[in-house]
């Protein structure tokens, strides 16, 4: 535990299978510890932490003061009892929290992993894994530590991982082991492995790793490409072996997690400020009273000395005043109630439990309830103004479904809509005729299936295209059990659709694609893949069908494809275009499909051109693009597809409600602009009613600034024109300086609900620009891409950007990095003084979740990073509305009411001492019995206000959702702010005056009916105390809006407890045991039987409560809040017993329901959006044509083994090795296979002999080999493609002769399975 800290690592040396060696370095083991205490350290550490809280230290200080007899105006226990209570409650809470941390640590640490020890695999707990161990991972397992991938079950040491937990990207990534180690397939050889890795020290850079492997006298460079990081999940890989480099806290995952910043709510901060003010107030009171004491001692006390001489150390009135000051500090300390903080925590805890318990935030499907992971932020949920949302996995499910299509001018898939509402959802199509169909696929339009069965050529061609033109890879574990590995879910959806309609993509080789067309296996020669990239926004394949006809199939964005169509398609284009509009209106992602027949000659010519482009030294990419452009012309339109990026349930409705509640939603996504915008439309963030959607896409600072400025000008312009051009709007440059967010007042004032609906007719007198900008909000949207954002977030432009963005109703930032997400949140947080909420599901959202005031994680997905970093988690985006509008709103309301009341009651309680000071010679005599002082805050008045703080409701939950405007007071911070605080204080002081004066007025002269005067101190004390308890109880009764049995119990119980304890404290028994401690003996019974006393109490109560009641009623009449109105309506409704009549709904609510699709579909011309349904990166095209990823299926392997010597395969295997191409240059490389295939001149460039360094010019090596081997298999079955088939096209060494027979074999195998 208390090991010496080793000096910071400069480099890390790890030797495989050598624990002794590695132990020298004292690397952290794989045990993670997020807990703070253990049993021994708990008490000291926890106490130390607690006394770092100013309040606690303050009370400790008070306690010490009280031990000085000259000062002590109260017994020590009046402070220590509450202090101990508070400390122990907090300690219990901390202990529980830590217990759960221990538990979760244990759970993670005890996961099993297989570790290679002494040549055998043994199951070990995660925490026992050491640096230098070799562990084995299986499919779908979490990676236990940061590993160097040594070998995998897949060919070429490839292995696929999902890094969702690390960076939030859900697409699979490829990792590859070093060639030398990838042969170490079995435990035995791995046990012999004794390589040593020297690498960088632990750091948090996820995308970088640099190290060297020394093995067998050789050096091998290591990069991130060879690493499996903790938190990843192994996918599509049977198993792999890895060497542990970083373990436990050193892993990149843990290094990234960092310490969670402690978040405080704005109420917290306000409360701290107020507490400081109260301290100030306390000191002032102390000073006033001390001065009073000085004067009194000098004028009166001096004379009174014969009866009461000064205590020994006091020799003059000044010293006496000094002591009086401290004495009064002790007495008046109850204005800063020690129980405040602990009560606030208890209330928040209660609210958190309500969130955890809410069944309406429970997701049945994922079996996940909502969880408040941080219990201290609840009331902030009621004040959110900005929501930053991730897209994938948060708004969308990341599931693509083939929803509709338009083929040759016929629209299919509209069944649901034509039937209107869905009482009878059309029958799911029955694909049983097709044994290869995917059972999960749903489609509802029988017509399409009929068309397929009738053999309509266009329909067939349509699906043929879908089955051919893609970069999906198939896997067929057993006959008929097809699995598609698609890089993007869109493609997967399209290919799956084709599959179900009878065009089953079965398998591919680098040069062929085999499709089962309505039961008939057809193999196409794949001549070229013109891969996707961002600019082209389309992809094409050129295939030769068995009949020898060459055809180019293309799918892509409509805007681009329509330009490249043959003129004869004009009519069809119009029809399709209409369909596309419809699809777009539904928020579907569309693609247009087209084909072009190529003659052999055309093909040859073009192939030649492309090859030369490929060879060009400079501008290769441009040349290639030009070459592609050339062939993708004069295409024939086939139709269009519409894919639904399935939104999470209820997303549009939620967004609608939230924006009605004045919450601005910004979507921050790593996705492409098109996708993001598309989702924006489909979740109704963007609508066609919007005046304009600004797209900021500039690459340079100047350009971005320009675009932002233009956007603002447009907004101002239109606002001005609507304002009737009345005021000269200042030059923007000037405004942008001063309309900034320094002036918060303008900011808050300007935001009125009416303004956003319609800009007012009578324009406001002097609209500062912010209000102008506010008034135009609701009409515009801003879309900004990551590279522009980088500029926009620079210091000199951020305000400009924020101005513009905040004037827009919707903001979408696309292609942003996790860091940028955090920066955007930070920006708004910094300048807007608004509460921000970030919601996301992936690890890429972690930074933003941590930055925002409130972080929400979507749980139930595989990745839990976001959830771990979050403050709240649930599994559906739509729960957000309930979290904010119901729980948040209530929490805020309750907290505010609680605080108001709390300060009130303490001032009412404490200030009586102040007034009494004027009568008791400022001698710091208390008004109350010391036990009353001790118990007032913790017993007599704590529970009713806690019950209110936990259970209160102003309007029922469904109303909060019906009237989202009810959320507004929280955003404007209306319910508890400095003004409200002063009102509470004033009320408290008023109450204290009444509580002092009324008993004083009555009792000072009164006598009992047996003649004994009532003006004795104890009677006065009991009367005031009783009045106080009754008054504050009546006040809490007035404040409580929702009287559950618990409230009743607590309110009445507190009163009961007061009287019980009063009589007990003043009882015979206690007095006879401790006469000096309980000298109030007899006061209660003597006082409370007097009618005068009760008349006094009643009078005090009336005088205290009547003004409050009158003010409240006046406020209700003159300035009713929406919640009052709703409440009133509710009351009226209840009286009328009209359960169905939802009177006010139209007025305020009327949320999404009516909006919906129908409305959206009208008048949507010109807003078609082509969701380009491709992967984020360029496709797998290069991998495919290089053949590297091709799996050596067991079937093929068996055949090989039987016919050829295994050694042959081994030689092949040994020779293979080119690390796969990392993304970038893929398309040129891939696409030049085909042309080369025709000219064998390029055969096997010898320089590609595999160097260990793996630095071969990659573009050349695989293509060279493939060129050698890719004549179309059908025409020349002897095609030498097999090298690629089996292992890799990198295997340049394979002589054509050697591979020829194999290729024939394999093609037969694969084609006729």
């Amino acid at each position: 535990m208390f090991k010496e800290k080793p000096p910071p690592e400069e480099e890390r040396k790890v030797r495989a299978n050598d624990r002794e060696y590695n132990e020298k370095f004292q690397y952290a083991n794989n045990c993670i510890m997020t807990s703070k205490y253990n049993i021994i350290t708990f008490l000291p550490v926890n106490l130390f932490e607690q006394f770092q809280e100013v309040a606690n230290t303050y009370f400790l200080f008070l306690l010490i003061l009280q031990l000085i007899p000259q000062i002590s105006s109260l017994s020590w226990f009046t402070t220590i009892v509450p202090l101990v209570l508070v400390l122990s409650i907090t300690a219990v809470k901390d202990a529980t929290d830590d217990y759960f941390r221990h538990k979760s640590d244990n759970q993670v640490n005890n996961r099993q992993s297989q570790v290679l020890i002494n040549g055998t695999l043994q199951n070990e707990k995660w925490m026992n894994v050491r640096v230098g161990d070799i562990i084995r991972l299986e499919n779908n397992q979490f990676v236990a530590a940061d590993l160097l991938l040594l070998s995998s079950s897949e060919p070429h040491g490839l292995c696929y991982i999902e890094t969702a937990e690390l960076d939030g990207e859900t697409n699979m990534k490829v990792r590859q082991s070093l060639p030398v180690t990838s042969e170490l397939g079995d435990p035995n050889s791995l046990a012999q492995f004794d390589g040593e890795v020297i690498c960088e020290p632990p750091n948090n850079k996820l995308d970088r790793f640099c190290g060297t492997l020394y093995w067998r006298e050789n050096k091998y460079g290591l990069s991130n490409q060879n690493m499996l990081l903790r938190g990843c999940v192994l996918r599509n890989t049977e198993s792999c072996y890895g060497l542990v480099i970083f373990a436990g806290p050193d892993t990149k995952l843990m290094q990234n997690s960092g310490r969670t910043k402690f978040k405080r709510t704005s109420i917290d901060r306000l409360m701290n400020t107020l507490v400081l003010w109260i301290f100030g107030f306390l000191v002032c009171m102390g000073v006033i009273l001390a001065i009073g004491n000085a004067v009194w001692e000098k004028e009166v006390g001096f004379l009174f000395q014969s009866y009461l001489p000064w205590d020994p150390p006091v020799d003059n009135f000044l010293f006496s005043a000094f002591l009086a000051f401290w004495s009064y500090v002790i007495i008046l300390n109850t204005v800063v109630p020690i129980s405040l903080y602990v009560s606030v925590e208890v209330i928040r805890l209660g609210h958190s439990y309500f969130i955890n318990w809410d069944r309406r935030m429970f997701c049945q499907r994922r079996n996940t309830p909502a969880e408040a992971r941080t219990t201290t932020l609840n009331e902030e949920l009621g004040q959110v103004e900005y929501i930053f949302s991730d897209k994938t996995g948060t708004l969308t499910q990341n599931i693509m479904t083939f929803n509709k299509c338009s083929i040759n001018g016929h629209a299919y898939g509209e069944v649901i809509d034509t039937l209107g509402a869905q009482p009878k959802r059309a029958q799911r199509l029955d694909f049983s005729f097709n044994p290869l169909a995917d059972r999960d696929f749903c489609f509802y339009d029988q017509n399409l299936l009929d068309s397929v069965k009738l053999g309509e050529p266009a329909v067939h061609e349509f699906f043929r295209l879908l089955s051919l033109c893609h970069t999906v890879m198939s896997e067929e574990k057993s006959e008929g059990e097809l699995m598609y590995k698609a890089q993007s879910p869109d493609e997967g959806a399209l290919v799956t659709a084709a599959r179900n309609f009878g065009f089953v993509f079965r398998s591919r080789t680098p040069s062929t694609v085999t499709v089962q067309e309505l039961g008939r296996s057809v193999t196409y020669a794949l001549l070229a893949i013109l891969d996707f990239n961002n600019i082209r926004k389309r992809m094409s394949v050129i295939v030769r069908n068995p009949e020898g006809k060459i055809r180019l199939y293309c799918k892509g964005a409509d805007t681009l494809l329509f330009e490249r169509l043959h003129p004869c398609n004009h009519d069809l284009m119009n029809v399709t275009s209409d369909h596309l509009n419809e699809y777009a209106a539904d928020g579907l992602r569309t693609l247009v499909l087209a084909y072009r027949d190529l003659s052999e000659q055309q093909w040859e010519d073009w192939a030649e051109r492309r090859r030369s482009a490929e060879r060009a030294a400079d501008y290769r990419e441009d040349r290639l693009a030009a070459a592609y452009e050339e062939i993708e012309q004069d295409m024939m339109l086939l139709g269009a597809t519409a894919i639904e990026d399935k939104l999470q349930e209820g997303v549009p409705e939620t967004i609608a409600i939230l924006s009605l509640a004045n919450i601005k939603i910004w979507v921050l996504t790593g996705d492409k602009q098109e996708t993001a915008v598309n989702i924006g439309y489909s979740c109704k963030m963007l609508t066609d009613d919007m005046s304009e959607v600004f797209i900021i896409n500039g690459h340079t600072v100047q350009r971005v600034r320009e675009e932002l400025r233009r956007a603002r000008e447009r907004m101002i312009e239109s606002a001005r024109s609507r304002e009737g051009g009345k005021e000269g709007v200042m030059d923007w440059a000037a405004c942008s300086l001063e309309n900034g967010f320094g002036g918060q007042s303008g900011e808050q004032g300007g935001w009125h609900p009416q303004q956003e609906e319609k800009p007012q007719q009578g324009s406001p007198p002097a609209p500062a620009l912010p209000s102008l900008l506010d008034s135009i909000s609701g009409e515009y949207a801003l879309v900004i891409s990551g590279h522009s954002l980088a500029h926009a977030l620079e210091a000199d432009m951020e305000r400009e950007f924020l101005d513009t963005a905040c004037a827009c109703k919707a903001v979408i930032c696309c292609r942003v990095t996790p860091l940028q997400k955090a920066l955007v949140v930070e920006l708004v947080k910094k300048h807007k003084k608004a509460v921000t909420l970030a919601i996301g599901d992936g690890a890429n959202d972690v930074s933003m979740i941590k930055t925002a005031h409130i972080g929400v994680g979507i749980s139930g997905q595989e990745g839990i990073q976001a959830v771990l970093a979050s403050d709240y988690s649930f599994s559906q985006f739509r729960f957000l509305q309930r979290l904010l509008l119901v729980h948040g709103r209530w929490s805020y309301l309750r907290m505010c009411r609680f605080l108001c009341y709390f300060f009130y009651k303490n001032f009412a309680f404490t200030m009586v001492h102040f007034w009494f000071g004027f009568f008791c010679g400022f001698s710091a005599q208390t008004v109350y019995d010391q036990y009353f002082i001790t118990l007032y805050n913790i017993v007599y008045t704590s529970l009713p206000v806690l019950a209110m703080g936990i259970f209160d409701q102003d309007v029922p939950e469904q109303r909060s959702l019906e009237y989202p405007k009810l959320y507004e007071p929280g955003q404007l911070n209306l319910l508890f702010n400095k003004r409200e605080f002063f009102i509470c204080i004033a009320q408290g002081i008023y109450t204290s005056v009444v509580l002092f004066c009324v008993p004083y007025g009555v009792l000072s002269q009164a006598t009992r009916n047996d003649g004994i005067p009532l003006a004795d101190y104890q009677t006065f004390a009991v009367t005031v105390a009783t009045s106080l308890v009754i008054v504050v109880s009546v006040q809490i009764a007035l404040d409580t809006g929702y009287w559950t049995a618990i409230n009743h119990f607590f309110v009445w119980g507190s009163l009961g407890a007061y009287f019980t304890i009063l009589f007990a404290m003043h009882s015979n028994i206690l007095f006879s045991i401790f006469p000096n401690q309980f000298h109030f003996f007899g006061s209660a019974q003597n006082t409370l039987i007097q009618p005068v006393v009760w008349l006094t109490i009643a009078l005090a109560t009336v005088v205290c409560i009547v003004p409050v009641l009158a003010f409240r009623f006046l406020k209700l009449d003159l300035k009713p809040q929406l919640s009052d109105t709703v409440r009133y309506t509710q009351l009226v409704r209840q009286k009328k017993r009209k359960p169905g009549g939802r009177g006010g709904r139209g007025a305020h609510g009327g949320v999404a329901g009516l909006g919906g699709g129908a409305l959206g579909r009208l008048g949507r011309a010109g807003s078609r959006r082509s969701g380009y349904a491709f992967a984020h990166q360029e496709g797998f095209g290069e991998l495919i044509t290089s053949g590297k990823n091709m799996r050596l299926s067991s079937l093929a392997l068996a055949t090989f083994a039987s016919r050829h010597s295994a050694s042959w395969i081994d030689t092949l295997r040994k020779k293979k090795q080119q690390p796969p191409q990392p993304g970038g240059e893929g398309s040129p490389a891939s696409s030049y296979t085909a042309p080369l295939s025709t000219s064998s001149s390029m055969l096997g460039p010898p320089d590609t002999q595999a160097e260990e360094t793996g630095n071969t010019p990659l573009g050349l090596a695989p293509s060279g080999s493939s060129s050698a081997v890719t004549p179309t298999p059908v025409r020349s079955p002897g095609g030498e493609s097999t090298g690629g088939w089996v292992v890799s096209l990198g295997a340049v060494q394979v002589t054509p002769t050697a591979s020829a027979p194999v290729s024939g074999l394999t093609s037969r195998i694969s084609f006729h399975v």
């Binding site: 009866y307 259970f951 409701q953 000072s1004 007899g1082 009641l1109």
Partner: protein, 354 residues
């Protein structure tokens, strides 16, 4: 089995559908409406006014006579005498006169009043030992430190009763005389017992008890408070059961007043003992003869004699009925204003614009 359990566990993740957890506890949500608030205000106002009137009427049946005797009449001389500490042991007697225009009906209470005497100072109030007064022998010899250094021991002997309160006990004594027009002055009989709280007299204050020892013997080892003329066991020369800590004057004094101006009960008219006073104090001239001991000039205080009668709710008290009347009137006024406001604005204000 295990699987089933796990399944059950998984299913359990759904929160209970209890009213408490779903925040749907049956509840009463009162709200301020005109129908409830306005009648409440009117009723409250009227009730306060009525109560005020009732109290006022009752009040008028009680009377109070207050006579300041600090330096009045013959007491002026005593006032001068008491100015100097050297005269502390000198006795001084004086008397004051007053007349009653009306009979004081019923029970009449005789108080002494002090003005500007602070019994409510913190250190003063702390300066007592309830355990000693309860009669604990241990505390008698060893009084609590709270009594303060000056009032705990005098020359090493413990003081009983200790403390500043006891030390400053009011020690004037009074005799009230009625001067009938025809007869010689008649001493008005006063009960000097029954003037303290029952609980104080019977439970809170006890004489220390040592078997077979008389009261003076018990107190032998203690000293009397500094300013006292007589030891505690000789406080009441007339009634041996009224001596020691249970002396009612002491008990009355030990019950500290909350405010600097106060009165304390001295005696109650003994209506049984004489026909003359059966109905109370008849109208006429009275004199109070005073044994003037208590010096007030040091602290600019005043001394008073107060005679008063009580009603069912106590002695004369002008504040309460007036306060009730005022509160009631204001409440009614507020109610009227609220009604007007409600009729003018409120009716529309809360309606939903539907």
């Amino acid at each position: 089995m295990a699987e089933n359990e796990e399944k059950a566990k998984a299913q359990n993740r759904c929160p209970d559908n209890s009213a408490f957890k779903q925040q749907r506890l049956p509840a009463w949500s009162p709200s301020l409406t005109a129908e409830t608030v306005l009648p409440f205000f009117y009723l409250l106002g009227i009730a306060c006014v009525l109560l005020g009137v009732l109290l006022q009427i009752t009040m008028q049946n009680t009377q109070e006579i207050k006579v300041d005797y600090t330096n009045a009449e013959s007491c002026d001389m005593c006032f001068e005498t008491r100015k100097y500490k050297v005269n502390a042991s000198r006795e001084c007697h004086c008397s004051i006169t007053f007349s009653l225009k009306e009979r004081l009906e019923g029970d009449v209470f005789f108080y002494y009043g002090l003005v500007n005497f602070h019994q409510n100072l913190r250190r003063y109030m702390d300066s007592r030992d309830d355990a000693q007064l309860l009669g604990r022998i241990k505390k008698l010899k060893n009084p609590s430190v709270y009594c303060g250094p000056n009032f705990q021991y005098a020359n090493g002997t413990p003081i009983a009763p200790c403390g500043a309160i006891a030390n400053s006990m009011f020690n004037d004594s009074f005799a009230l005389f009625f001067h009938p027009l025809v007869d010689r002055p008649l001493r008005v009989p006063l009960f000097r017992k029954g003037i303290a709280w029952y609980t104080d007299k019977n439970i809170k204050f006890h004489n220390p008890y040592v078997p077979n020892e008389s009261l003076p013997q018990v107190f032998q080892a203690t000293a009397k408070p500094l300013y006292w003329q007589k030891p505690v066991y000789e406080l009441d020369p007339n009634d041996s059961t009224n001596n020691g800590f249970i002396n009612e004057d002491l008990i009355v004094w030990m019950r500290e007043a909350a405010f600097p101006n106060f009165k304390k009960l001295y005696g109650i008219l003994d209506r049984q003992s004489s026909k003359m006073f059966e109905q109370g104090l008849p109208a006429g001239n009275y004199s109070v003869s005073i044994s003037y001991n208590f010096p007030v000039q040091y602290f600019r205080g005043r001394k008073q004699v107060v005679l008063s009668t009580v009603s069912w709710f106590g002695g004369q008290n002008h504040f309460l009925p007036i306060a009730y009347l005022v509160t009631g009137c204001v409440t009614v006024l507020v109610a009227v204003v609220l009604t007007v406001v409600y009729i003018k604005f409120g009716k529309k204000g809360l309606k939903m614009e539907d």
